[in-house]
């Protein structure tokens, strides 16, 4: 074969393959980057980091729920019914406030009129990084412009792990909408499994002080939250602190950062409640939930029935704290944990 013809044939078949591949990826749009009016697929594999921006941009909704893995089992249909909203759920496993702000900025820049934001706020967010996501984000999915779209269209990993499964799922008659998906946080629940996986930390030498160790971090994270609250006064922000099991607090006691944790919660709740468009629900002291280890798969992650229960409680206003009582409520939690008999689990 002559050299010129060899090169010409190579270029033509490479270009055809690449264009064909990009075309399939564009039409299937597994992460809803383009939000086609009539999607050809009925089944979608979900990936938080990749799918969330597409959902935020293209779905029609008036409420958003953001948070960490603690909301991965929240039932969106139940929320719609009990809160009287049309909600999308956008969790980031182990996510930081940077994650939440990034995705909420996209939500607010969408065509949707967002009336409510439900924000699962926990110590991992308050004391974590305010400037970095938990895991590196595929920024080409988050940018408004389409300059880097080739990374989405010409991506063999996305094709193999998502597009192909979406096509197979659709052809076999399965359906799965991204924002309505059910339980995604699975595993073995129950006290036995939980205790098996719990490694009690060694007692730390010194007590950590909130002011010295954590306040700057909390302030930086609250700033991320404040920017959103102040930029959208017409939106109601509902924060809720999830009920970690008592063993989470046992670990905090061992690390000698429990008091700092409680002080941080009081400080953060106080700062948030200064805004008129903010309400806060405090579930960390829900003794019935946190002392029943059968509700958990590890020291922090509870089963979907607890998500359902929290939704019901919020719908009824149970667990809400106000400027008048939040300090008393958190101090009550402090006393409860300090007097709790943790040794019963380790005998």
């Amino acid at each position: 074969m002559p050299g010129k013809r060899w090169i010409a044939v190579l270029l033509i078949i490479v270009m055809c393959t690449i264009c064909g591949f990009a075309g399939v990826q564009y039409i299937c749009d597994p992460m809803l980057r383009y939000g086609h009016e009539s999607w050809p697929l009925t089944y979608y594999e979900y990936s938080e980091m990749y799918s969330n921006p597409g959902i935020a941009r293209n779905y029609k909704y008036d409420a958003v729920m953001v948070g960490t893995s603690m909301i991965e089992n929240t039932n969106v249909d139940q929320c719609d019914e009990l809160f009287g909203v049309k909600m999308v759920r956008l969790p980031y496993s182990g996510g930081t406030t940077y994650n939440m702000k990034t995705i909420l900025d996209i939500c607010f820049s969408s065509k949707n009129d967002i009336k409510k934001v439900y924000w699962e706020l926990d110590e991992f967010q308050l004391f974590g990084s305010a400037t970095e996501p938990r895991y590196p984000l595929p920024m080409y999915m988050y940018q408004e412009n389409h300059i880097d779209d080739l990374k989405y269209l010409l991506n063999i990993d996305l094709f193999y792990h998502y597009t192909l499964k979406d096509i197979v799922g659709t052809l076999t008659g399965r359906t799965q909408n991204l924002e309505r998906r059910g339980v995604t946080l699975n595993g073995e629940f129950g006290q036995e499994a939980m205790l098996r996986g719990y490694a009690r930390p060694q007692k730390a030498d010194t007590e950590k002080q909130f002011e010295q160790v954590y306040k700057k971090k909390v302030d930086a994270n609250l700033e991320n939250i404040r920017l959103l609250i102040e930029a959208h006064p017409e939106t109601e922000f509902v924060f809720f602190l999830p009920p970690f099991s008592v063993l989470y607090w046992d670990a905090e006691l061992c690390k000698r950062q429990f008091d700092a944790n409680m002080d941080g919660a009081i400080y953060a709740i106080g700062e948030l409640l200064q805004y008129k468009n903010v309400s806060v629900y405090y579930f960390q002291n829900d003794e019935e939930i946190i002392t029943n280890l059968d509700n958990y798969k590890d020291y922090s992650h509870y089963g979907s029935w607890i998500n359902d229960l929290l939704t019901e409680k919020m719908a009824m206003g149970v667990g809400q704290v106000t400027e008048d009582n939040y300090v008393t409520v958190v101090e009550g939690m402090r006393q409860f944990i300090k007097s709790y008999n943790f040794e019963q689990y380790f005998q």
């Binding site: 074969m1 078949i13 490479v14 393959t17 690449i18 990993d157 193999y160």
Partner: protein, 197 residues
């Protein structure tokens, strides 16, 4: 113009190359490699990396007759180990980190295990996940290492291939596959050592 040609033409030869005696030649070589190290980056690690190659080249020149008598397999091994150790300085944030890493190589006893971070650098999810569903991952990685080693030793390198290259259907298919796979993998490649250059 490659960096090697540039350094040869504009530094080594103007310095006198190998025309002014053995000692001066060695000094010229060391200077060239020192400049090469500095060209690659700012920091003492790059100077160390450059000088290591300079010293190795000088040592080779000084012991060429004796060195060339060593069986080629041992020569490969020696070169490979030396270049790998030098890369540690190239990549490390500072010299003490590099030294610490090298120390870690000789602690921990004897065992056959592949560090997870090392395997992750070779992770090509799409390619590997297919066979790893039926074959344990460690065997896949070992096979990849082994295959790469055999290719490195037994196969012709790219320059040799190019010399004898004749356009044909077989190599068209091969180039097509590699080109397409490479283009489709661009957004999912792992960290590449030379990425800053």
């Amino acid at each position: 113009m490659t960096l090697t040609r540039f350094l040869t033409k504009y530094i080594y030869i103007p310095l006198g190359g190998n025309r002014n005696g053995t000692l001066r030649t060695y000094v010229n070589i060391l200077i060239v490699y020192l400049v090469s190290g500095m060209w690659h980056g700012v920091g003492f690690t790059f100077i160390v990396w450059g000088l290591m190659h300079g010293v190795a080249t000088v040592l080779y020149r000084a012991t060429k007759k004796e060195y060339d008598r060593i069986p080629c397999v041992f020569q490969w091994l020696l070169t490979f180990c030396f270049v790998s150790i030098a890369w540690v300085f190239f990549r490390a944030p500072d010299v003490s980190s590099a030294v610490n890493l090298l120390k870690q190589i000789v602690v921990g006893g004897w065992s056959f295990s592949i560090n997870a971070e090392l395997t992750e650098t070779l992770l090509m999810p799409t390619l590997i996940s297919i066979p790893s569903q039926v074959i344990p991952f460690v065997y896949v990685v070992t096979a990849l290492f082994g295959g790469t080693m055999i290719c490195s030793v037994c196969c012709r390198n790219s320059v040799q291939i190019l010399e004898k290259f004749r356009p044909a259907i077989f190599n068209l298919a091969l180039v097509y596959f590699l080109l397409v796979f490479g283009m489709l993998s661009l957004s999912s490649v792992g960290a590449f050592l030379y990425t800053n250059f």
